[in-house]
Symmetry: C2
Subunit: 401 residues, 2 copies
């Protein structure tokens, strides 16, 4: 059985007309002899609307009950898409996360997939049905309904593709593929036909909204071809492949993420175990720290700076304020209104002078760099939020994408 996993996002499913169109597309694809498992998100703004209703009851809904509430969004989508396929004469069956055996940890609102009981999905596929699976959700211990957090439906699709040994994992979105920069900031940004998993990971992790990094990680690990395609127009999209398959270019793309804050804990005594203690405490809040820089502080001390998403600031600052006196550190500072600007490309490590060119470009634009971090295939500069778009445009020109 040749299986394809497709994922459709919320904006591709925002009306019943769009749902009907997707049903027709899926059935056309079925005629080519492949078996299709489809992962869907909640329709349009459903999730935000449900969040608004919850907030009109309480500012601090429990995460368990929020998962119970939000998971209804995808359940509506799977039922409607199944109906649409059946209405077009096809065979379909919808499944919630619980029914399709997507077993997760019990961390409500940010659960991780542990296992997928694929027999529940394989059986209807073998019967010739299109299997429509609710993305973003799973089931924890004691039949608890969980959700996977941001980008959850991408993660569901990638994990399913891996477990089902799918031929391909196709992510359908509102754009034609992965671009060298955000076309809303850089109008002449170019669509990439191919990108490596590593580059995609760095792009996705540094603000490109098109694909969630967890989905890239999973497909990379299991070597499942991953495609980003338009849900509305035909086209080849962008194929994410192994690095060796594509010609190496220095810079593949430029991204920005305006939802970051820098938190620092200063003058931590330079003793073994400090980093473990600090970041262990932060990990318990469930925060994903995006970047960590350790630098020399005053006297025999060190400073830790980190970049986190804005919504995690309160939790991290609270934890650090609590730990600060215990480890005899000096204090905690926090800067918001920042943005990450990244250049990503598998050629960065092998092409001398790219970092220097990036810093000079920003300096020429009089954009102050607050924070720098580099990896083999990515250079991140943190700048003031208001300067982020200018930085992206200047870098786009400078690197001649």
């Amino acid at each position: 059985m040749n299986i394809i996993v497709q994922k459709y996002g919320g904006s591709s499913l925002s009306t019943t007309e769009k749902i009907n169109n997707i049903a027709i597309k899926i059935l056309e694809r079925c005629t080519s002899g492949v078996s299709i498992a489809v992962v869907v998100s909640a329709m349009g703004d459903t999730t935000d609307n449900l969040l608004d209703i919850a907030r009109s009851i309480t500012q601090y809904p429990s995460k368990r009950e929020l998962d119970m509430l939000l998971s209804t969004g995808e359940q509506v989508s799977i039922a409607l898409l199944s109906m649409a396929i059946e209405n077009q004469g096809g065979k379909a069956i919808s499944m919630t996360g619980l029914q399709s055996g997507i077993v997760t940890t019990n961390d409500h609102s940010r659960a991780k997939i542990r296992q997928i009981k694929i027999s529940r999905i394989l059986k209807p596929l073998q019967e010739g049905k299109v299997v429509i699976i609710a993305g973003f959700q799973g089931v924890g211990k004691g039949m608890q309904i969980t959700t996977l957090g941001r980008g959850g439906s991408d993660t569901t699709a990638a994990a399913l593709a891996a477990e089902l040994k799918a031929e391909c994992c196709e992510i359908y979105t509102d754009v034609d593929g992965v671009f060298t920069a955000d076309p809303q900031i850089v109008p002449n940004a170019r669509k990439l036909n191919y990108i490596s998993y590593e580059e995609m990971l760095e792009l996705a992790g540094s603000g490109a909204q098109v694909l969630h990094p967890r989905a890239v990680e999973i497909t990379m690990k299991y070597n499942i071809p991953l495609k980003v395609l338009s849900a509305h127009t035909p086209g080849t999209g962008t194929t994410v492949v192994e690095a060796k398959m594509i010609e190496q270019v220095a810079i593949t793309g430029i991204t920005s993420d305006k939802n970051v804050a820098r938190i620092a804990i200063q003058s931590v005594p330079d003793k073994p175990g400090m980093a473990g203690r600090i970041f262990g405490a932060i990990a318990k809040t469930g925060t994903n720290v995006k970047l960590i820089v350790q630098s020399v502080g005053i006297g025999n001390t060190i400073d830790f700076s980190m970049l986190v998403s804005c919504e995690d600031v309160d939790a991290v600052v609270a934890v650090l304020n609590e730990i600060c006196p215990k480890i005899k550190a000096y204090g905690v500072t926090c800067a918001t209104k920042l943005a990450e600007v990244s250049i990503v490309g598998s050629g960065i490590a092998s092409t001398p002078g790219i970092a220097a060119k990036m810093f000079k470009t920003l300096a020429d634009e009089k954009i102050n760099i607050e924070f720098i971090s580099t990896s083999h295939i990515r250079i991140v500069c943190v700048v003031h939020k208001d300067k982020a778009d200018d930085a992206v445009k200047a870098l786009y020109r400078a690197f001649d994408l």
Copy 2:
């Protein structure tokens, strides 16, 4: 543990403000030392809205997918009510039909409860939590999500009360209790403080919307006190009790149901097994036949007339047209635009002349009776739909309720 099962209908939960008020009411009740399991319906018009969305995709959605869709309505309610209780400082946990172990048959859209795995509900009750359970839904074989059909949430509450051996099953509605007639037709209709299970069953089965007959049957069978109360105003409501506990009155109430049609199959050869064959075929459509009358036809034949809900007419007529030539019957007729008007009371069998008085009252009003059926505690006259309200008013005056 003294357990109370409460059920709140959709109109009592139509806004987050109403949900908050119900949360406060539940917590006040908890202070009296009882453990509370709450069954809820979908908020306001949610179910109708979901049906509209489904119909914009297909006029004939599969029942499985419709159950998948509609069950989200109650799931939203349980999450929000749990959040509201937690926000008021209480402890609560929400459970879908599947999670609370409400095991049903696999008849989508009209499933029957087979079993409730109450340990899943007892455990959180013992931990001092208010357990909020999605009404109207359950789980069939293979973890299929099912719904119970009309009045499903009442049925869920009654079945739970029976399995939990609850002290009482309280049905909260928009009215103050059960009335001697519909107050919208008869403005001076009186609220009943007590009514017997049998009378309530006949009233509920003949058009009184306040309570579903399945819920009455279950509580009667397990002898669980059943109360109908206002969700908004304090009051004693109506208590449904064993007949021996209440003073016998001839007539307890008058109801009408304007959603009926009469179907007849004529000149069926008078041979053994005909009734079984005809009504067996009808049963396969899932139709609940409300009344059956067998009468002598022309020659050595019999006629069967039956009363069904309007929405079942097409299915029943189709089945009868198919069976008609096979059993050599003459033909099938169908009359819609009819209404059932019933008088109910445990004294009917023991008080001579009540039926005669009912027929005379209708005759005096020049209301033609199309169909008559009687039981120990109920007399039904089928009249033209347009005459139903006049009939109720006239009977109300005649029997001096």
